[in-house]
């Protein structure tokens, strides 16, 4: 594993050093590359700060690093025997995705019409962004109705009643009023008075934040079933006259929902579970997209499209690499990538750069537009439709990755 981390920073043709060769003194690694190797090892071990707890300085040879890795793994084995990890601490073991679904705005609007609405040059959305059409909510649809439709699908797939839910966890970037989406969904699903509600932020990473949060909520042994949902109706907020068409024209309306419950031995095939998650905020890129209401309820938008595109592609590519490191799963072994898709052109760039197979990336934005956090949700639902019912031996893990303003980023591995 140490040598694999070394390989990530060395040129492809470089030979690996001998076990006792000093990486720094021999000039093999400079200071930056040395830190990158150490971070790689810590990430692979899921132990940030591992080297800072050592009495000696950071290791500079393969032998020294490998010894630390061995010692760490041995100590982990002892700890695991003493107490199971949070995800396995419940009475019935891990939690997994038992149901899934999505709902799209029922009106399909071609990109040419959107270009007319926003007074954009012909081909701006279709040729430059790669969007054929977007889904728009009809007059009778809203975030709550779309989320309800998605949640009912997910409950049906899971074979679970809304009465069984212990938590409803939701996210939205367009429903700004109260009662919130989670509270409204609690009402429309007629969940019980024992079911708690939680609204989570994060804009386009909101759904993955919901997964991470729900996974953590299962550490409470009393929790057995959680519904999570995302819903956004951009068309009423990012409309012509309020924002430029190069931005507003990219978005569609939709919702996604998932039901998570504790797994048991009878699950055949086993449910997909969150095996690893990573995420943070990279403020370096916070200025590329800023959206906020002003005092007159108009929208103030700072949007550097090119810089955002570059930052988003680089970060999602990094998330995929970091998920590989943290989970030990290579991208070639992944069955599907549920990715945020600001627009289809960026997806094409990402596939090329990250060397991802196009048939493993469910496309959403081309025909539906950017659905906010539901982009990932619709992609994940589509992937689960294909893979969740396969026997374990015939399916691989699923990676989900998203970025949002901030620049927030989150990635999860489902196995």
């Amino acid at each position: 594993m140490v040598e694999q981390c070394l390989q990530t920073v060395l040129p492809p043709e470089a030979l690996l050093p001998g076990e006792d060769e000093d990486w720094i003194k021999t000039g093999l690694l400079d200071s930056m590359a040395h830190v990158d190797v150490l971070l790689c090892i810590e990430t692979r071990l899921a132990s940030p700060g591992l080297f800072s707890r050592m009495s000696d300085g950071p290791p500079t040879t393969t032998r020294a690093a490998a010894q630390i890795v061995r010692n760490f793994r041995q100590s982990l084995e002892v700890e695991t025997e003493a107490s199971p990890s949070p995800n396995e601490s419940g009475p019935d073991g891990r939690c997994g995705i038992a149901g899934w679904g999505f709902a799209l705005g029922s009106a399909r609007v071609a990109s040419g019409k959107i270009e007319e609405e926003f007074d954009l040059p012909k081909g701006t959305l279709k040729d430059r962004a790669g969007i054929d059409s977007v889904c728009r909510a009809s007059a009778s649809e809203c975030e709550i109705s779309l989320a309800t439709a998605a949640a009912q699908q997910a409950l049906e797939v899971a074979g679970v009643s809304a009465q069984d839910l212990d938590w409803i966890v939701t996210t939205t970037e367009t429903l700004l009023g109260f009662p919130s989406l989670a509270a409204s969904l609690h009402s429309t699903l007629l969940a019980t008075s024992a079911c708690r509600v939680l609204d989570i932020g994060g804009a386009c990473v909101g759904l993955l934040n919901c997964f991470v949060t729900a996974n953590a909520l299962f550490s409470d042994r009393a929790v057995s079933c959680i519904a999570i949902a995302s819903a956004d109706v951009h068309s009423r907020l990012l409309s012509p006259g309020k924002v430029p068409g190069e931005f507003g024209g990219l978005f569609g309306d939709g919702a996604s929902a998932f039901v998570l419950r504790r797994t048991n031995e009878k699950d055949d095939p086993p449910l997909y579970s969150v095996r690893a998650s990573i995420g943070s905020c990279s403020g370096t890129f916070s200025s590329v997209l800023r959206v906020r209401p002003d005092a007159n309820a108009a929208i103030v938008l700072d949007f550097d499209g090119q810089a955002l595109a570059r930052a988003a592609v680089e970060r999602i590519e990094r998330i995929v690499s970091d998920l590989e490191r943290s989970s030990g799963v290579k991208r070639e072994a992944v069955s599907a990538f549920a990715l945020h898709q600001p627009n289809p052109r960026l997806v094409a760039t990402l596939l090329r750069r990250a060397k991802l197979r196009a048939d493993r990336v469910p496309l959403v934005a081309k025909n539906c537009g950017n659905l906010g956090s539901s982009t990932c949700g619709v992609a994940l639902s589509t992937a689960l439709d294909v893979h969740a019912r396969k026997p374990r031996g015939e399916r691989g893990p699923i990676f989900a990755a998203s970025v949002g303003p901030g620049l927030l980023w989150t990635g999860i591995v489902l196995t």
Binding site: M32, H34, V35, D36, L39, T284, S286, A307, A311, E314
Partner: protein, 246 residues
């Protein structure tokens, strides 16, 4: 007779076993940064002057690789005088100055593709290799100390640079002076982290002169990565602050 150029020494940074020096040359309107470089190397093995010193150098042009266009071959330097920290800062604010990450080097920065939160500028895109910026906050990390120190800075624009290698010889000196008597590296890390989180943070927060100069490392191999580094941080470190550690 050789022409000399007066530089106001603004940066002395650690570069391998030596030091890199940057000085400000006065222009009709403001200042510009120049990097005096010894004849046979990119770094000075010994540099006897201090930040804030006015030094006369014999400078000559050299074929500098982009983006290090500030490089000048240097020799025969002579001390002319010195200025205060406040005066030096005023001069730096009239030199290369940016209000956003993109303006630092006239190009976008990119996250490390290898892990970690360090960022780099592409050597083909960067327009310069040193720039100043006003900052709102700073924090230090001693995770890989000794010898590495990293810093995160928040610009007034709200943007952040999260894992800048600290190469400022003055700040590195404070950490080393603080911990050099400690044998156990883990204890050194803890001691340094605690001191910087408490004493140094208070000093920086209470200062009206929070300012950083961000530099670009020279690209290594064919990658073209110019890593961003914290070359200088104002307020400048004061050795007397070490007394507060006791």
């Amino acid at each position: 007779m050789r022409r000399t150029t007066e530089l106001l020494v603004s940066e002395i940074t650690v570069m391998g076993a030596g030091f890199c020096v940057i000085g400000l040359e006065r222009l009709p309107a403001g200042f510009r940064s120049l990097r005096p470089i010894p004849r046979n190397s990119f770094s000075w093995t010994k540099f006897s002057h201090q930040r804030g010193d006015r030094v006369a150098f014999e400078l000559s042009f050299m074929s500098a690789l982009r983006p290090h266009g500030e490089d000048r071959r240097a020799g025969n330097f002579q001390l002319l005088g010195s200025v205060s920290e406040a005066q030096l800062l005023e001069c730096l604010k009239r030199a290369e100055l940016a209000g956003s990450v993109k303006d630092l080097f006239g190009c976008a920065v990119h996250p490390s593709p290898r892990g970690g939160e360090a960022v780099y500028a592409d050597c083909k895109e960067a327009q310069r290799s040193i720039c100043g910026c006003e900052i709102a906050a700073v924090s230090f990390s001693f995770r890989f100390y000794p010898p590495k120190i990293r810093a995160a800075v928040a610009l007034k624009s709200g943007e952040t640079l999260e894992s800048l290698p600290v190469v400022d010889a003055g700040w590195i000196g404070v950490a080393n002076d603080l911990t050099s008597h400690i044998q156990d590296d883990r204890k050194r890390r803890l001691e340094a982290q605690h001191f910087f989180d408490s004493v140094i943070q208070k000093r920086i927060i209470s200062s009206n002169h929070r300012f950083a100069r961000i530099g670009l490392a020279r690209p290594k191999n064919d990658e073209g990565f110019c890593w961003l580094m914290l070359d200088t941080l104002f307020p400048l470190p004061n050795p007397a602050w070490l007394n507060e550690a006791k």
